[in-house]
């Protein structure tokens, strides 16, 4: 098969008037500038050296952040993309540099994050010879990239990179990997660039069918007990306002997935909390009580649905999604509203009747009260001397007022952070939802701080997760990145331990984890730090952390065997949610 990019090739050909003779590497960096890229996350190595050599001269317009491990370059790019709405860009070398990207790509793929990764590759004639640092990264990453392409000729660079940026950010976003052989990086050619606006084999947004919007509106209007569940689609579509108008007009209680968090103010009267395994009691129970379930930009992940054959069986399901493959994938939709929710939500809002559903919404509040009494109070205001993760997050809310970007890692602290952190602004919650990547938090926080330098960025991490990517303290040190690192240390791999306690008769198989002295470690990296073990010092310590100019690490010793509740045990229905 040939390797030409037909439709875009012709475009470039028409645009030959504005050509300039440059090397492949220079073309790549010029394209970055034309695509509005400001920050790069990367790590140099043999096969990408020509690009880094040219980058030496672009250091002013392009800020390059040298990470300490390639996996973290993707996580940082993800954090950057999630808070800024822009595409994160990664540079990496071939071989191990490229394979180290895989976890990050998988994370970005499942969490629909726009990232463009450029990997160096051995000289084209060496492909397939097991050359030094040669690896077949295109095939290795094929299942975890939205699109990928190997460039062996510099002439291909403009057309392929314009497609890469277009594909990564449009439709349902995702990671794109472009592998560029070393010869193409040094090869000179006549460069001209045109942004990609259309690819014939790719329709980023399905055409909205009015009749489905009408059917959806009719269902919502007829509903006595409607409930909205929303995910990251609202954030990715920049449709927070449209979403709010929709639920406010319809008087629709709305619950969020972990990735949908922060799209709607925590304190909004119609915000009824978090869905899923460690979500709130009311929305889980009410999923199996409502008569119309309206899913907006979410994909019915198993952590959200619990047991599928007992999930919302009584309800008519309306599913709004930009990705046609999500319709009917896990939960059958009675009305599929394909399209960008930025377009479909206002259409729907126009057609629905103004309602309050006062009694129905009050039922959520009733159940919330029950959860409050059984779980939340003792988590946020513990009566024992042992510090809880929840109270740390509660005090943090008081200090930040819900204005901070909260980046969490994976595990108990993540669930606690998502459950209790307050948000007033969208794009403020960054976490690894689908892949559940331990080690995501610290590098993602680095990216988030660079994506929103004016905002307070707090990485809430566990003692396990931070040790997976702790080398990134070096990145923070070298680049003076003012992230706050809040380690909730329970001396266990807490979530696994919780399952061992609940479902494996307390056989704590290899979940007891030792940590270095984080405070000393931080000081080795020249990062201000402190440790708290007593409640009476907690607030002051958190205040000191937030007030501190520049990066800061605070370790809080929390209860060793605290559990996160409520919980929908695996294999159970959402309505079988346990409060203790």
């Amino acid at each position: 098969m040939s390797v030409t990019i037909q439709e875009t090739d012709t475009k470039t050909a028409q645009n030959t008037t504005a050509t300039r003779r440059v090397s492949g590497s220079e073309a790549i960096l010029e394209i970055f500038l034309k695509e509005g890229v400001e920050t790069l996350f990367g790590y140099p190595g043999g096969a990408i050296m020509p690009l880094y050599d040219v980058l030496y001269h672009y250091n002013d317009p392009l800020k390059h952040i040298l990470v300490r491990h390639e996996q973290c370059s993707v996580h940082a790019a993800q954090g950057y993309a999630r808070v800024s709405g822009k595409t994160g860009v990664v540079l990496s070398t071939s071989g191990p540099g490229a394979t180290n990207l895989v976890t990050g790509l998988a994370d970005a793929m499942i969490d629909s994050t726009p990232v463009v990764c450029i990997t160096g590759q051995v000289f084209a004639p060496l492909l397939g010879t097991d050359a030094f640092q040669e690896t077949d990264i295109i095939n290795i990453t094929s299942p975890v990239t939205k699109w990928s392409y190997q460039i062996t000729d510099a002439e291909e660079i403009p057309a392929v990179l314009s497609k890469a940026f277009y594909i990564a950010a449009s439709g349902r976003p995702g990671p794109v990997l472009i592998d560029i052989t070393k010869n193409a990086q040094v090869q000179e050619f006549d460069f001209a660039y045109e942004k990609c606006e259309h690819i014939r084999s790719y329709r980023p947004k399905p055409v909205v069918r009015k009749e489905y919007v009408e059917q959806a509106a009719a269902l919502i209007n007829s509903a006595q007990k409607p409930m909205v569940i929303f995910g990251q689609g609202v954030i990715l579509g920049n449709a927070e306002e449209e979403f709010r108008s929709f639920i406010e007009k319809g008087g629709l209680p709305a619950a969020w997935t972990v990735l949908g968090l922060s799209a709607l103010d925590t304190d909004h009267p119609l915000n009824v909390g978090m869905l899923g395994m460690h979500g709130n009691y009311a929305p889980n129970v009410m999923t199996n009580e409502c008569d119309v379930l309206i899913a907006v930009g979410m994909r019915f992940d198993d952590r959200v649905t619990g047991r599928l054959d007992k999930y919302a069986k009584q309800a008519k399901v309306v599913h709004l999604d930009i990705d046609p493959a999500e319709i009917d994938k896990n939960v059958k939709a009675d009305v599929p509203v394909w399209g960008d929710c930025k377009e479909t939500l206002p259409m729907l809002t126009k057609l629905i009747e103004e309602k309050k559903h006062t009694e129905w919404v009050a039922q959520f509040k009733e159940l919330a009260k029950k959860e409050d009494e059984v779980c939340i109070k003792k988590e946020l205001y513990p009566e024992t001397d042992v510090l809880s993760m929840g109270e740390v997050v509660r005090i943090l809310n008081e200090i930040t007022g819900g204005d901070a970007v909260i980046v969490s890692d994976v595990g108990q602290h993540q669930m606690v952070a998502c459950r209790y952190a307050k948000f007033k602004k969208s794009k403020s919650n960054v976490t690894s939802g689908g892949l559940g990547t331990m080690g995501f938090g610290l590098p993602a926080a680095i990216g988030a701080k660079l994506g929103a330098p004016e905002r307070e960025v707090i990485a809430v991490v566990g003692d396990g997760g931070i040790q997976m990517t702790i080398q990134e303290l070096g990145t923070i040190m070298q680049n003076n990145i003012g992230v706050k690192i809040l380690i909730l240390n329970n001396h266990y791999l807490g979530m696994v331990r919780q399952w061992q306690e609940l479902f494996m008769q307390r056989r704590y198989s290899f979940t007891d984890i030792e940590s270095p002295d984080f405070v000393k470690l931080a000081s080795a990296y020249d990062i201000a730090s402190a440790r708290v073990e007593q409640r009476d010092q907690l607030k002051a310590a958190l205040e000191a952390m937030v007030k501190h100019e520049g990066s800061y690490l605070l370790e809080v010793k929390v209860g060793r065997e605290n559990n996160v509740f409520p919980m929908v045990p695996q294999g159970c229905s959402v309505s079988e949610i346990r409060l203790s």
Binding site: K146, S201, P206, P324
Partner: protein, 194 residues
């Protein structure tokens, strides 16, 4: 209930396309029974014919995942009744036994086979038909010392299809035409990506 489905995929002519599509099946532990890929009637566009045994629901989800691939223009799935399909077999048999013991003329007529190469030591026959017909011929040749047999991947024409030339024109437009068939209800698999 699992049954045979023929999946037809129109893709850009790209390196690595086979791998990307194969991943979609292998990830779900679905075995591909037949896979044929070749240039389609439209220049620059490849056509894949993939045959699997699956349930209607599973194949519908699969096809959506296939269509989600950036370089895929369109994917369809059909039951056996909805397509006209053929397989091809090539049979290499020893000249001696076949000419001595078989009335070759009868063979050629009855099975619709053709002799496409005749050598001193072997003859290569070709036959096209449904799977059972090819299988029958294998059985027939076996007693005569069938040396080698190869089955070509299935190809299928979609009964309802009006070809792909017009569709490509729509794909090339930035916005699809108002009256063009667009995404449809989930049951109707004819189109959903435009």
């Amino acid at each position: 209930m699992k049954q045979e489905y023929t999946i037809t995929v129109y893709t850009e002519d790209r390196v690595g396309m086979v791998g990307r599509l194969a991943n979609i099946f292998s990830r779900r532990k679905i075995n591909i029974e037949y896979l044929n890929t070749a240039p389609s009637e439209v220049q620059g566009i490849h056509r894949f014919t993939i045959v699997i045994q699956e349930t209607h629901e599973a194949v519908q989800k699969l096809v959506r995942q296939i269509e989600k691939q950036v370089d895929v223009l369109k994917a369809y799935f059909h039951t056996e009744e909805e397509v006209i399909w053929q397989e091809m077999g090539l049979f290499k048999v020893p000249s001696e036994s076949i000419t001595e013991k078989v009335k070759v003329e009868r063979l050629l007529h009855e099975y619709g086979a053709r002799a496409i190469a005749i050598r001193k030591d072997y003859i290569v026959f070709e036959a096209t038909g449904h799977r059972e017909e090819i299988d029958r011929l294998v059985k027939f040749f076996e007693p005569f010392g069938l040396i080698e047999f190869v089955r070509g991947a299935r190809v299928a024409i979609i009964k309802k299809s009006t070809g792909f030339h017009e569709k490509v024109k729509e794909f090339e437009r930035k916005q699809p035409a108002e009256n063009f068939e667009i995404n449809s209800i989930p049951e109707d698999q004819s189109v959903f990506s435009l």
